[in-house]
Amino acid sequence: MFYSLVFSISKVALAALLDARHHSPSLNHLGDSMASKKKQQDTAGMTQEGRFYSAERLHAMHDMMLYIRRFEEKAGQMYGLKKIGGFCHLCNGQEAVCVGMDEAAEPTDYMLTSYRDHGHILARGTDGVAVMAELLGREGGVVGGKGGSMHMFDKSKNFAGGNGIVGEQVPIGTGFAFASKYRDDKRVSITIMGDGGVNQGAVYESFNMAALWKLPVVFVIENNQYAMGTSLSRASAETHLYKRGISFKVPGIQVDGMDVLEVERKMTEALEHARSGQGPIIVEMMTYRYRGHSMSDPATYRTRDEVDEWRSGRDPIVRLQKQMVEAGLATEAEFKQKDKDIKKEVVAVAKAAEAQSEPELSKLWDDILTDEIPNAYPYPRQVG
């Protein structure tokens, strides 16, 4: 008891530090002053596997997961109303991966994702209105409406996510790690791929280079059990994906991706490994997407029982709520109220995004080249 108290207090400082640099969603009800925050932390919190989490921090993680969940539901609705077009990949069920991972990361760490990117960019702290505006193809979208659901990027948050070609971001993420090592600036590249993406050849080329040159990269595999309609075992000879680095001497760990605290803890270790110069590491997050691959996928290749088992048995938000209630850090009524607030917030976000205009037509010609050459064909900014 005594020891754990001492331990917790030393962790409080760290937690406060992490909180200070951590961005909460643009929810106004989350904003407390630092002073009162610290006071609370001295008394309230929860320890899991020897790691202390302040009540404040737990609430922030919970709220962000719930925010992502409600945001994705809203996006699904907007798609149904044909306000969002093209491909739209939701991450319902995978929120603990997004939030736990970002919680462990430094804001200066790079993050690269596939097209299943809404949750990650929101967890990273990008304004929800800008993300929703991107989904709607509006001028205030994160990339000005040019990318849509699949191409979320926010350089100010070191988020180079949003890559639409399966596996594409893996060598690119390795390149960010190369730049870190080159400059010796201790930034880690968090390079995320799916259980389907992990089979691309370039992934193994990347593992080898990263190990060979001891690059600071954490290769995160979001193993949500399916790549479109193909289950893991129908596409992978070795289904323990954390072992995929063995022949390149890249260590790997498997993480319960439905437990935000475990994600945070294991990711912290992995980041430390990469940051300390020991080279790359693979983190396999065991998770599940509740929805189809994209909005057009009815997901008939899975049984209802299987989906229910994850959805009602292992849901990351329900799980954290239970833990927090048991630890006396919140009540069910509070969570209900919180959910109402967040739903309201998301409605407001969608409204604000929808109120924006489409990009001006002249934007079509922006951002193709940096150094346009005016007097040679094809001429910049014109037809023919």
Partner: protein, 326 residues
């Protein structure tokens, strides 16, 4: 004749050829249990079993190369790319291996296979998923490039491509998959290298392939109302190109517009208009015009996307210009 969709027509061609020849198999992402990402291979796993209809991991370079090897070893693979955007990963096997294998081996090895899938712009899927690549492959000796614009052509051209003893790049169009048209029942083959006149007219020739053929036909209707009688030529096979049909049409109309969804620079329209200039110069009463996609990566926003793509209105306008009616 039955009325079926473009995707059903493709399905019929594959089934017909697989029934006929045990060496033919279909491999690609989601082609078997999911019945195809765009349902082109609907029912084929049930019909032919997992030996011949094979789901792959997401490893385009790997299974494209596997197809090349299988073809060299005597099979006749149909390798499906979910879309041609992803074939960029497999370009090495297509360009450096399949296209050159016969030549490099002094004729010892053939590469009789079809690489097929959806090309061109889909709807609202942004830069990485909306691209026309026919000009890339059309530039390469050793490849044939085929692009059907309607259900009947889809069936006849795919069957011919599967029977062809060379590597065929077969580019479909996602937006056309649901189009319905009359398609001959039973065995149906359209020889490669033959263009088709989709509409007969005397004032101007519109040359358009794939989805743009439909746009050209719509433009022709509009132009008819304005008193311009349009001929629409669909090359169907991009490489090798049936230039005789195109030149004969231009000899009749003396005016031509080439239309393509892809980018103008070094595009298919550049090749076709150069041939018209080289071989039909004396027939021309006006410079050949081109209508193409704008020279930008495809944006997502609805208004920008529409602006980036060629439109029927732009085709009408270009035709009026070459007819001195603008």
């Amino acid at each position: 004749m039955a009325k079926i969709t473009y995707r059903e027509a493709l399905n019929q061609a594959m089934c017909q050829e697989m029934e006929r020849d045990d060496r033919v198999f279909l491999m690609g992402e989601e082609v078997a249990e999911y019945n195809g990402a765009y349902k082109v291979s609907q029912g084929m796993l049930d019909k032919f079993g997992p030996r011949r209809v094979i789901d792959t991991p997401i490893t385009e370079l790997g299974f494209a190369g596997l197809g090349v090897g299988a073809a060299m070893a005597g099979l006749r693979p149909i390798i499906e790319f979910m879309t041609w955007n992803f074939a960029v990963l497999a370009a090495d096997q297509i360009v450096n291996a399949a296209a050159k294998m016969k030549y490099m081996t002094g004729g010892q090895y053939d590469c009789p296979m079809v690489f097929r899938g959806a090309g061109g712009a889909a709807a609202r899927v942004s830069s990485q998923h909306s691209q026309a690549f026919e000009n890339w492959y059309a530039n390469i000796p050793g490849l044939k490039v085929v692009m059907p614009s309607n259900p009947a052509d889809a069936k006849g051209l795919l069957a011919a491509s599967i029977r062809d003893n060379d590597t065929v790049i077969f580019i479909e169009n996602e937006i056309n998959y649901g189009d319905i048209g009359e398609v001959p029942e039973g065995e149906y083959i359209i020889p490669l290298g033959k263009a088709d006149i989709k509409r007969v007219g005397k004032d101007v020739t519109l040359i358009a392939h794939s989805r743009m053929t439909g746009y050209a036909l719509l433009a022709a209707e509009e132009l008819a109302k304005q008193g311009i009688d349009v001929e629409v030529v669909d090359p169907r096979t991009i490489r090798p190109l049936d230039e005789a049909t195109i030149l004969a049409s231009v000899a009749k109309t003396n005016r031509a517009v080439v239309i393509e969804e892809g980018w103008r620079f070094a595009g298919i329209g550049a090749e076709i208009s150069a041939r018209i200039m080289e071989k039909g110069f004396d027939d021309l009463d006006a410079p050949v015009a081109r209508v193409t996609g704008k020279d930008v990566p495809m944006p997502y926003a609805a208004n920008l996307e529409q602006y980036a793509l060629p439109s029927v209105a732009e085709i009408v306008e270009a035709a009026r210009v070459v007819c001195n009616r603008a």
